[in-house]
Amino acid sequence: MTWDSIIPRETKNEISRSARNDIAREDNARELTYLEAIRDALQYEMRRDPRGLVMGEDVGVFGGAFKLTQGLFEEFGEERVIDTPMSELCMVGAATGMAFMGLRPVVEMQFADFISTGFDSIVQFAATNHYRWGAPVPWVIRAPSGGGLRGGPFHSQNPEAWFVHAPGLKVVAPATPADARGLLLSALRDPNPVIYFEYKALYRSIRGNVPEGEEGIVPIGRAKTARAGNDLSIITYGAPLHEALKAADELARENVSVEILDLRSLKPLDTDAILETARKTSKVMIVHEANLTCGVGAEIAALISQHAFEFLDAPIVRLAAPDIPPPYAPILEDASRPNKEKILQAAKKLLAY
């Protein structure tokens, strides 16, 4: 059994209307799954830029644990789609060396959970390098992140906060197919090390219109209003965006107008967009799948408290996983992750404050 086989191929979740409509349909747009959009960006950029290469465990002949890189080995060959040994620390260090010598490597961590095995190469060497002696390190690490697949404590983690905290890295976390492609293209062209969190639960459950060619490139550091509203702001990123959108659809039926800000980039954060929505609705809920303490939500809450305190009508609410490893049993995992019901519950409490 591959991990790929346990991901539902059919779209079981009803996709929120707002998620479907968030990209204007253009002549050159196609409908792709989230996974296809990531693959499309890799393929597009590797065709455009001969310096690009992909490496990781099982990414070549096998097409990746999630079949995300399927077809790339056949098209680009073993020198540009490199099956590596199980050596994340060396993989990232090698990517840094390749980047120094003019290549544009993309490292696939098979699961975001395993990124910790490459930690020194990421945060000590690559992240600090440009600041220390001026040589840029243009690589991208793709980190399949998040729960919902019953993967247990070591195939479900959301370790983005470690990297947001480490100076010198850019961190992105797209939630829609269009953003997945658009942000990956930006990451691949960025002269800095970028950690690209992608959400396994969205791979085949989310479809959307995705532009082609040079269209739809999403700049790093720019959030997006996924839904406009006036009564309450939900600030989120990654997989929980879709839960928030569903909750907002339900609240709309009760005449509550929810604004949803999809951060898309976690480092640098779009501070202006965060403060703007807080000032607009005066009630803020932050939702993320990672655990609570010192998570990205803490930074957002601090920013709003410092710069928009006088606009707030209620304390800022953070909805996140508890400070536990992601549990295995479905009943436990579901209890730990933010979902539509928990968002609705917290939203009603916040609205009534």
């Binding site: 290469l53 020198e79 540009r80 590596t84 040994p85 050596s87 620390l89 060396c90 993989m91 990232v92 260090g93 090698a94 990517a95 840094t96 060396g97 390749m98 980047a99 120094f100 010598m101 003019g102 290549l103 490597p105 020194d120 190469s121 000590q124 060497f125 600090t128 390098n129 440009h130 600041y131 220390r132 002696w133 001026g134 040589a135 840029p136 390190v137 243009p138 100076p167 010198g168 850019k170 002269p191 800095n192």
Partner: protein
């Protein structure tokens, strides 16, 4: 292998410059003119210079904190290096990284290292991987120590280099001590080079105080790597003749051990050979030492008069534009 007179003269200059610069740093530290700690490279001159001189102009190195001679031999000037030790804006890191750490300049083929040794080793492997993919006849030369050889990353990197048959040469400087821990307390087997067999690459033990042996063997390994024959692991046995850093009086090192290595000083051995070859006499030696002192005086004056880094630019450059 023939050693040209020109090569030996160069080597003599770089090794003497390295030793004299190291001595000057010691003095400047005691005068309070340097920032932070100081790591002496004394005893490592034949390795750093001998190995670095085995490279061509387009090759790259990932040296560490006892490889001062390799920085010089690759073209890092005494003025820039002195600036680095004094935390000045004119050093390769502009006052942002300490002593030889972060002392990189890709235009010279030098990668700056981090304290997490051997983090530079996979970077050298990656550069070699790039050379292979781009069909460039270039070689990466990596340095690590007996201490670093105990890190798991060395296994990952040696395996990777061998698997893809990359043009990289690993120099392991076995100087008998990782800080206070002697090699016998770090590993059961006496020769780190013996591990090479497990990776399917050549492993050679070299007298690290013998310039001729270091240079000859490195040159062979570099040219084999350049020709597509894959990596090699060269273990240079030497002795760290000072403490781990200047604060360390190395009371843990037996006096007899130091006494045993003292007459094997790489500079004494090298100069004895030069005299035997009629390439060196007292006049030449004095001329060289005088010239080097003048160069170091100039480097010191440059660094002392160089601007400090600008605190208003503290956060600049965290990202490349």
């Amino acid at each position: 292998m023939e050693f040209s007179n020109e090569l030996l003269e160069q080597a003599h200059y770089w090794m003497r410059l390295t030793r004299a610069f190291d001595d000057r740093l010691d003095l400047l530290f005691k005068q309070g003119k340097l920032v932070g700690g100081l790591f002496s490279q004394r005893g490592h001159e034949a390795i750093s210079v001998g190995a670095a001189l085995a490279l061509g102009p387009d090759d790259v190195i990932t040296p560490m904190h006892r490889d001062l001679g390799a920085y010089f031999a690759r073209g890092m000037t005494p003025a820039r290096l002195m600036s680095q030790y004094m935390g000045r804006a004119t050093g390769p890191s502009g006052g942002r990284d300490a002593n030889l750490h972060g002392c990189g300049d890709l235009s010279l083929g030098i990668v700056g290292f981090v304290s997490h040794i051997p983090q530079s080793t996979p970077v050298a492997v990656g550069m070699a991987h790039a050379f292979k993919l781009k069909r460039e006849p270039r070689v990466a030369l990596n340095f690590f120590g007996d201490g670093g050889s105990s890190e798991g990353l060395i296994h990952e990197a040696l395996n990777w280099a061998s698997l893809y048959q990359l043009p990289v040469v690993f120099i392991v400087e076995n100087n008998q001590y990782a800080y206070s821990t002697p090699t016998k307390n770090q590993m059961r087997m006496p020769d780190i080079a013996a591990r090479a067999a497990g990776y399917g690459m050549s492993g050679v033990v070299i007298d690290g105080n013998d310039f001729f042996a270091v240079h000859k063997t490195t040159k062979e390994a570099v040219e084999r790597a350049r020709g597509g024959d894959g990596p090699a692991l060269l273990e240079c046995k030497t002795m760290r003749m000072r403490g781990h850093a200047i604060h360390d009086n190395m009371s843990y090192v037996p006096k007899e051990l130091l006494a045993e290595w003292e007459p094997r000083d790489p500079l004494l051995l090298f100069e004895k050979r030069l005299r035997e070859m009629n390439l060196l006499d007292d006049v030449k030696q004095n001329e060289l030492l005088t010239r080097i002192e003048r160069e170091i005086d100039a480097a010191q004056a440059f660094a002392e008069n160089a601007p400090m880094p600008d605190p208003s630019k503290l956060t600049e450059g965290i990202f490349a534009e």
